[in-house]
Subunit: 120 residues, 2 copies
Amino acid sequence: MDPEEALKCCGPMDDLLDAELFKTLGEPTRLRLLSCLAKCGRPCSVTELTKCCAVDLSVVSRHLSSLEIAGVLSSTKEGRTVFYSVRYKHLTEAFRALAKAIEGCRPKRKASKVPNSVSH
Amino acid sequence: MDPEEALKCCGPMDDLLDAELFKTLGEPTRLRLLSCLAKCGRPCSVTELTKCCAVDLSVVSRHLSSLEIAGVLSSTKEGRTVFYSVRYKHLTEAFRALAKAIEGCRPKRKASKVPNSVSH
DNA sequence: ATTAAACTTGCACGCTGACGCAAATGTGCA
DNA sequence: TGCACATTTGCGTCAGCGTGCAAGTTTAAT
């Protein structure tokens, strides 16, 4: 198949390769917040999470909001504090599905010796 | 555990949460190139891949280079044309490992009613 | 040697996004 | 009501990045 055709044919990958999700995860500070939150294993407040990275609290608030929009975190409000949690199940399933989709595109057996088909 | 401690304690996630990888995948044009290349199921040249996205060939060249540096693609040169391929195995394993690491952080059973241990 | 094809690289432009600070909003408490 | 705490939002700044165009590089063919 040619790349031009591949563009039109819609596979499982196209639904799973979410640019917004990757863009959100592709930022060191956000990634650190996710990592710390995951390792804590419990919901944390914005103020708490600010202690694990060297940026202003307002910045952390915005990052956490982004992560929630991207489907990485969920939040619950208790009084005046907001608790963020990792969406473990959702994330795990997303990455597994992606792995499976990529694996599914992989050609099973290589045409070992067919010089003609190689050129183009 | 507090976010502050979590920062110091290094888990499996910290090795797998690669900001550079996500940043590279968090761009629509690059993601489209990856998708088309994967769906083709065969190595493609820069010129071929340019046909599946609406940007200049020089831009495609740079994107493919980025994807290679990030470990998403591999390239082989034949004469004057460069063929890019998806690193299926590498990507699949990376995402599966990530899924597993995230799953591993998930608290198995919630402490249903232990007020003392919650506060901190 | 000349020409053409396939990429790569240098450069400038425009836009996005991360950041800090200050002000605003929402909420519990005395 | 007044005050302190937790978080959000507005705003200006600055660096990074995607893009196109033009020039340079490598390699094949005539």
